[in-house]
Symmetry: C2
Subunit: 346 residues, 2 copies
């Protein structure tokens, strides 16, 4: 299998290197052949080529079986009014590859409950899968800017909603059969369409799935007050961005959360949900677990290697249970390096 | 002073009645004369007049010194595709009165930390004031709907941003001098304008205020991980809706959180941030504290009666310290009625 690695900026190169080591180990133990290619994205690509998503990168991604991505952005390119920004590379590659469904599983490990701001008894048994629509909505609508005002258009088509809801409902079916759809249907027209389409798709195609609708503001509360009650949550792009960062606090650290961005093809992008953490870049102390767990999702979703994926996930769980904590997780005591954490998984 | 009471739906009538009792008590003890008028809004107004904001209600509001509001909505009117919906009344009255600045203070009481999903040690000393822009953004932009898609336009003008930022910066100056502005400037054009205008207004007019920018997704995390670090937070309409419901979990219950919606005039709308809770309506068990605390904000902001406002706030704090908990707050033991909680404050 051909795996494209896009290290990106900040701690991106360190955490993708760790995940590649783990993938190489998997290849060896299970007798697979993985070929790794590397390309530029984000700020690193702007510096080298002037654009955050060079043609060579997009071309390589289109011909790869899967893409492993680090993170993009940093103070060097952070002027929001700059013409080119690292984030554009990320948005453009998601869109160009048609990766409309972004999976963000949140399953707190017993060993890291101490790092969460939430009371531990609320977290026992939490296992939430957020499915965020990733290529539509206000992120990609027409934008205007004048001396006196600015606008962003949020648009959703029936087709865009149907396909991500089908994906989420299929996942719900393979789990507890419960799906929660989040919108703001009491105010937004796109949310009313979202609610109508979701209701119809689930009623007609997934009669065995139980669907519940939640308003995004209530959801922001319920996610904290009763996280155990949710299983698969499906929502539009912007709400998904906010709710998954909020949900990451259930797991204690952003540094533990992987993601998979999928479409109708086989290629997917696998990346930690954390950012490029420029303040700790190059120090060898970044938490590699989220990227390693993203590599596990890559094995599962793009390569169809379920046993291999579970092997990686179990190894990370064991490293956490053994107390191998990077600085973001170590509420007290000794924090280990990226290298030591990776070695524990290997 | 003329106070217009808009009970609305669900538990609205019960909690506004409690707050009116408290205001009457304040009038008597401090020698003021408050006149109370009552009008319809929301579902109750739809049932009686066919519209969620009758002319008589708007007229009365325009001529009142302040408006005390309960809550609107309920299953009876909850079809999101209905032509008239209770929420429209709320959005329309905010807009018609020009109430662009919505204050939502979050200050957990020591006595109710048990009701919060957040670990108590993180909550000590938390005192956050969220200023939510209330009459602009995607809530009020043009909407379209066709058989194949739907759209909502998010628009902000320089003037809309300036006035709410001035209000928030003035508040920050009277508190710790720290202001956090929340946007999604790495993706949205309206957010880039928001960031530019906020930076300029604070730099030019509030050089003594320290301004920090946060992306809305990061803010959704930081609010939980380090709530103590924030003082005044200013943000646009939709982000404010989501973040304040999330922030309410710091206080343990939505039932404790008041709000004030202010504009350039004297009249303001004061309402609890909770909804109409149709499941417990009419049972006499609703938590009246949020509405009573909203009455305190009414005394402070519309009537300029600071000592009276503090007296009400202290009385609520004492009731909480004495363990007078309604069902939403009573994690164990006895839950009291709306009447008993109100009596404790009186
Ligand atoms: C970097 C940014 C554009 C991106 C997003 O908002 O989608 C990030 O926050 C994420 O969630 O992957
Ligand atoms: C009822 C709804 C329209 C309203 C809003 O979103 O503004 C409510 O959630 C609030 O926060 O006051």
């Amino acid at each position: 299998a051909h795996i494209l690695v896009l290290p990106g900026d900040g701690i991106g190169p360190e955490v993708t290197a760790a995940a590649v080591e783990v993938l190489q180990c998997v290849a060896q133990r299970f007798g697979h052949e993985f070929q790794f290619d590397e390309q530029l994205i984000g700020g690193a690509a702007i510096d080298a080529t002037g654009t955050p998503l060079p043609d060579a990168t997009l071309h390589a991604a289109q011909h790869a079986d899967a893409v492993l991505l680090g993170a993009v952005g940093g103070p060097k390119w952070s002027d929001p009014n700059a013409k080119v920004r690292p984030e554009q590379g990320l948005l453009a590659i998601r869109k160009a590859l048609g990766l409309y469904s972004n999976l963000r599983p949140v399953k707190p490990h017993a060993a890291t409950l101490g790092a969460s701001p939430i009371k531990p008894h609320l977290l026992q048994g939490v296992d939430v899968m957020v499915v965020r629509e990733l290529t539509g909505g206000i992120y990609f609508g027409e934008k205007t800017r004048s001396a006196t005002d600015a606008s962003d258009l949020c648009r959703y088509s029936v087709v865009e909603i149907e396909r991500v809801v089908r994906h989420a409902a299929t996942l719900a079916r393979s789990r507890s059969g419960k799906l929660t759809s989040v919108d703001k249907a009491n105010v937004l027209e796109t949310s009313r369409l979202w609610r109508d389409v979701t209701s119809r798709v689930v009623r007609e195609e997934f009669p065995d799935v139980t669907l519940e609708h939640q308003l995004v503001d209530s959801m922001a509360m319920h996610l904290l007050a009763r996280p155990r009650e949710y299983d698969v949550i499906v929502t539009e792009n912007m709400f998904g961005d906010i709710l998954t960062d909020e949900a990451s606090m259930l797991a204690g650290s952003l540094g533990l959360l992987p993601s998979a961005s999928l479409g109708d093809g086989k290629v997917g992008i696998y990346e930690p949900i954390h950012g490029s953490a420029p303040d700790i870049a190059g120090k060898g102390i970044a938490n590699p677990y989220a990227t390693i767990l993203s590599a596990a999702l890559l094995l599962r979703h793009s390569l169809g290697l379920e046993a291999e994926a579970q092997c990686v996930e179990t190894s990370v769980a064991e490293a956490l249970e053994a107390g191998v904590f990077t600085a973001d997780l170590a509420t007290q005591g000794h924090a280990v390096s990226t290298h030591t954490a990776t070695a524990a998984v290997l």
